[in-house]
Amino acid sequence: MSGGSLAPPVGTAPQPPARAPARALGPARGVAGRVRDAVTRIPRAGRVCFLIAFVNAAIWGVVVPPFQVPDEIAHFAYAQYLAETGKAPPQGVRAQYSPEEQSTLEALNFFSVIGRPQMRGILSPSEDAALRTALAAHPSPRGEGGSTPVSNQPPLYYALEAIPYWISPSHNILTRLALMRLLSALLAAGTVLAIYLFLRELFPSSPWAWSVGALAVAFQPLFNFIAAGVQGDNLLFLASALTFLVLLRAYRHGLTTRRAVAIGAVVAIGTLAKLTYIALLPGVALALALLCWRQLPEGRSRALRTFGVAIITAAAPVALYLLLNATVWHRGSATAGGIAAATNGNLPGGGSVTLRETLDYTWELYLPRLWFMHHAYFARYPLWDVWFNGSVGHFGWLDYTFPNWVYDVGRYVFYALAALAVVGVVRTRAVLRRLVPIGVCFAVMALGLLGAIGYAGIRYKLSSGYPFEQARYLFPLLALYATFIVLVARGLPGRLGLALGGLLVVLAMAHGLFAETLTISRYYG
């Protein structure tokens, strides 16, 4: 370099003007072109489903008042701390929320609203004026990063949320929150698109089924309630749906190096999104082993290479995270960011939970208690009370629901749909039979999740006395829910099946619509 000048040295031949820009813009144009190609390869109906899901989730994001999505105060606190400091929260006994968030929560009457269905937040102009006055004092947005229920999670979702936080044209916390909620809506739309593409792989000869299954998810009200807020589950749901998609795609078309990279990348995203994703890993590992085994006839070394590519792609970002935990963020140790807590079997007070207790609890969480299980962990059967009724709709901080008759009717509707789904399985058996091996892997993923919920649930319940389980914890399996909906529709032959598919979507839309009116009456009525 001569004096830092970018001019070509005197006497040297000038570069051909056309080539330099071509080299500079080439990669960018290439990436943009590839993205455009990838988007245009998605069927138009899939893109429409994505758009519909995004707008619907964005509407929910305005309907639900600030911070009323479960744990949104803690998720926002994490994202704000990361955005303000560039670090994951150090945790520990110190202020959980920034002065700005704390002041906003108090002015919103947040703590008197959650868990109290008869209470409202801000209903009058004078209360709104008090909120604006509190914000006009410009309390600091920089908190101390104290422990919250989510501060031990990995930082990927929060790092993504830092982007709308930063680019917000206003520093008003509520404007920032509104923009951050749009990112959650985008992730929810991505989940719906991933499920659409998953169904395309599963039922390649039934394009109508792709839209029906994806739209049933797009209007699921609890899914939208979570998508309405700053909530790390949204990235978990997307990563899980993508996992089902990339594994099925690799199973149907073969495990190429690109698909191995895709599997590894999705696993890395899921693991760095929320630790719950770890529960899917045994099933993913089994699927990866299956995919490599099927590749053996093409050469052992090729199979091992693609396996290695997937593992390295998944492990490298996670290893980087562990390193940052220990060295840059000073969170105590490499595994301090939640991994240690998630794998510690003991209770915080020092007591321990036996394997038998864990197995009993996990069984009772989903199935009727058996004669040799002496401890009844639940007063009511969780299959209906937690999972079914919760999926139909336990909203807010679990503080408002539909009238009881809705759940009663819903149960009979479910019986009918389940019967039709069984018929659908029989009618689709030729297609499904070919997918049994990967289906077993998906079942292991599902069992891993159910087991992890039970494992964490008994420890939480014994240490705090409060129930742990919420229906949304099953939403990493939304791809299987969409499959169920399609099988229901395929339970009827020909055009009757198509009509039923349409009716199921309208039912889902009606479910979502009445959940929205319920939400409006809860917070504004």
Partner: protein
């Protein structure tokens, strides 16, 4: 044809259900003192008075609801008053003796529009004690005074609008409330805009299904 007919009929059924749902009349809230009736938070002897500071009384508050316990006896007569800084009544209401314990509703009579009420006081008639639902808490500037003596806790007061209203009748109020407590970019227009967006979403879905289910 069959799928389209099914879609059309199902959509019509949802519309009818929505209209029926929104047409139901019921008492509607006007706000509260942001205290929930979680526990019995105050005991007031017969002839005694309880006062506590409140945020301004909502303009559309026509009734006030309190949770009262009398240990099985009839509720004595109550006088509820909302007072301004100078101690003048902004609104007041009476509950005649004889009501059953539980939630009681006191109709409010507005005596002057301004200035805003800063205190609520309940005078208990008769000679027996009653307890009021509210929240326990430490003694502070916001806690209740019973016969002038500060006690921990606050009682719950839920404000109701006049009469019964359908959601259609409440729409202008809902629109106004919808813009409050949110980012400054939202306002009274937001609820209507969301309704239009949602209508667009429904139309997009029906068009998509109409094409896909052929």
């Amino acid at each position: 044809m069959l799928p389209r007919v099914a879609l059309g009929l199902a959509t019509l059924a949802v519309l009818v259900g929505l209209v029926v749902d929104l047409s139901g009349s019921a008492p509607r809230t006007a706000g509260s003192d942001h205290v929930s009736p979680a526990v019995f938070a105050a005991t007031v002897p017969g002839g005694g008075t309880l006062c506590e500071p409140i945020s301004p009384l909502p303009g559309d508050a026509a009734r006030a609801q309190l949770l009262i316990g009398t240990y099985g006896r009839p509720v004595p007569n109550l006088r509820l008053r909302f007072l301004d800084e100078a101690g003048r009544a902004v609104a007041s209401g009476d509950l005649p003796a004889g009501a059953r314990e539980g939630y009681v509703t006191v109709r409010l009579h507005r005596e002057r529009r301004s200035p805003a009420a800063t205190r609520a006081c309940v005078a208990v008639g008769g000679s027996t004690s009653v307890v009021f639902g509210g929240e326990a808490g430490s003694v502070g500037a916001a806690s209740e005074l019973v016969n002038g003596k500060q006690q921990s806790g606050r009682i719950s007061i839920l404000y109701l609008r006049a009469g019964k209203e359908s959601w259609w009748q409440l729409l202008p109020t809902l629109s106004r409330r919808f813009g409050l407590g949110k980012a400054p970019l939202y306002g009274t227009w937001t609820l209507a805009a969301l309704a239009v967006l949602l209508l667009g979403v429904w139309i997009a879905v029906l068009r998509l299904l109409g094409r896909e289910l052929r």
